[in-house]
Each structure stands twice: as C-alpha cells, then as structure tokens.
C-alpha cells in the first residue's frame, strides 16, 4: 500500500523539486502561497493614512521590523537602500514599505527620523496594535513580544514580500542576497507591471 502510494507520489515530488530548483535560481520562489496579502490601513511616517487601495497600480515591497532591532532590520534597510539605488529611476515605479511590529514604541515621528538614515523611497508604517495585527495576519507574517529583564524585544518574520501592481503576492526576496540578484527580481516585477525603468 505504502509502496504503491510512494511510487505514485515520487515522480510528482521529483518534478516539483526540479521546478522548485529552477524557480529558486531565478526568483528564490517558495511554493506559491495563496492568501499572502490583503487590505490594510496604516499610518505612514509622514503622518498620513495609507491604505492598500492607495498602492494599486504600482508593485510594492513590504516587510516587517522594528527600530529597536540591533541587526537584521537596519541591515535589511541598508541592503534594500543599496538595491533601490541600483534600480535608478525605475525605483519610483514601486513602493517600499517597512511596517513596524512594535507600534507602542515606533511612532510615525520616530519612523521618519529612523528612515532618514536610509533611501528616501522607503515608507515607514505603523498603527494601532490592532491595525498591525491585521496587516501581519494578512501577510502571514509572524511577530511576538519576547520579555527581557527590563522590557521586551521582538521576534518577527524577516522576509521581503513582493506584491504586484494588482496587490497580489508575487514572490519573496531576502535582504542579504547579492544586490544584482535582488535588482533583477525587482526589475522583473516592474516589467510585469508595465513599469519598465531605465
């Protein structure tokens, strides 16, 4: 019984593995994850309210972090700043959104100050704890407070989600991968959205 099942499944698995490997070389694509993304409304670092509807028409990159993060958040923002610079003019054809998972500490004013150290195409987003919970849920991003002896730190998903101009999930990207690879992924995302840059 098991043997029969295995023999049926194996070719499928092998084909999936080949496909996955092929996709990974180009896009680092995980298995298609239906349901990533969805409507949200948050407060941007300039104080204005920003809803997912405002983003329609341009693809966007969205990722989660917090300013009291000593390592992965600043390095992700720095890596992404370099990648954005590498895109040149084309960068204005999309949005780059950094969503705080620590809204009690990360006010719009603080996000504005923090992002002044990075590429100006980046938009910082925060909100009420309920709004942050809703956007994280929509993106299937995980975050939690971790108590420390004098407060807390955060665990959080550290992947960059790339969304099409229709607001639908396309692929994930990892900061720290070679710049050229990330630039190629973003150019592909822009090209598919009809926003081919220089």
């Amino acid at each position: 019984m098991t043997a029969v099942r295995l023999s049926r499944v194996m070719p499928v698995l092998a084909a999936a593995a080949i496909l996955a490997a092929a996709a990974a070389t180009v896009l680092r694509a995980p298995a298609p994850a239906p349901g990533i993304g969805g409507p949200f409304e948050l407060t941007a670092h300039d104080g204005r309210r920003l809803s997912s509807r405002d983003l329609l028409g341009k693809p966007f990159a969205i990722f989660f972090g917090f300013t009291r993060c000593p390592d992965i958040c600043p390095t992700t923002l720095l890596d992404l700043s370099r990648v954005i610079a590498g895109l040149g003019e084309a960068a204005s054809g999309m949005h780059f959104l950094f969503v705080s998972v620590d809204p009690e500490h990360d006010t719009p004013e603080l996000l504005r100050l923090y992002l002044s150290s990075f590429d100006p195409h980046l938009t910082g987003l925060t909100g009420t704890p309920a709004e942050i919970a809703a956007v994280a849920k929509a993106y299937r991003a995980y975050y939690e407070k971790v108590p420390t002896s004098d407060g807390y730190t955060m665990n959080h998903t550290a992947v960059i989600y790339l969304m099409g101009a229709d607001g639908r999930f396309r692929v994930t990207m990892r900061a720290g991968d070679p710049d050229a690879e990330q630039i190629a992924i973003l150019r592909q995302l822009l090209a598919k959205s009809g926003k081919v840059g220089s």
Partner: protein
C-alpha cells in the same frame, strides 16, 4: 589584482594568528579570558539599541560566563542571542549569560550572540572607539573599547 588578493589573505591570516596586529582593536586579558576586537556599528537616526561584537577565548581551566557589561552611550547592557528560524528572526536575552568552556573560543557576531546595548542616549557615530566593560561571572569586570564600524560594516560597497 593577484597581489591585492594575496595581501587580503595575508591580512586575514594575520588577523587570525596575531589578534594584536593593526587589523584589530586592542586585546584584553583577564584571568585566562582573552577578549579581542570588540566592535559595534554606527546606528540609524533615532535608534535606541545597538549590538556589540567581539571574540572571547577561555584559556583558563574553568568554565566562565559573560553575564553583562556596560557601554558609555547606553543605559544598560544585556547578553542576547539572535537566530534565524526559517524566515523568522528570533531574539532572546540569555538571562544566565553566555558560557565559555575551558579551551573554547566564542565569537559574538551579527546574526548570532551579541552584547545588546539598550537605551542609547544618542546615536552611535563613526569615529573614535567607545568605552565600555564586560563582566564575567568568575573573571570579573574588564574595561574595553568598542571600535565603531560603519552601519554598512557587513556590506561594503
């Protein structure tokens, strides 16, 4: 090209074998514990935390633990571990400190163990080294200086 590769390699080897060479900040020794090359990164504007990194070698006969320290620009210092669990970044305070067994060497580095500087009074800027200290359970306290590297320290461009 060839020369610069060789030179870089030579520098790297020197850095490993001669921790006191010019490639490194000062070394510190306290009761069998050797600390080399403490460093931190410049921080983004508004940041109130930073990570401190260093190598610790226990040349003594007993295990010891790094349990805390101080940093001139921070309100407090904790020992943390950061680890990637798939796509999730996990951070935790090592409440009991970080054990260094006899004969063992541990590197506190980005995406791993680090000394967490909490409550920065002002951003860390590139420039001169910043004074601090490290406290070990048995070896006690040692004053050190943290070299300040650029925010992009791991990503030269």
């Amino acid at each position: 090209m060839r020369f610069s590769t060789t030179a870089t390699l030579a520098a790297a080897i020197c850095a490993v074998t001669l921790p006191g060479s010019a490639a490194h900040a000062a070394d510190y020794i306290i009761k069998g514990i050797t600390i080399s090359a403490p460093w931190t990164r410049a921080t983004p504007a508004g940041a109130t935390v930073a990570g401190g990194f260093l190598k610790i070698e226990n040349k003594g006969a007993e295990a010891d633990r790094l349990i805390g320290g101080s940093f001139a620009k921070a309100g407090s210092v904790q020992i943390h571990e950061m680890a990637m669990d798939g796509d999730v970044m996990r951070m935790r305070e090592m409440a009991g400190g970080l054990e260094i067994k006899p004969g063992a060497a541990i590197e506190l580095k980005p995406k791993s163990y680090h000394v967490m500087f909490i409550g920065l009074k002002e951003p860390i800027k590139e420039g001169g080294p910043i004074a601090g200290s490290l406290v070990f359970e048995k070896a006690g306290k040692v004053d050190v200086e943290f070299e300040v590297r650029p925010l992009a320290a791991k990503a030269p461009h």
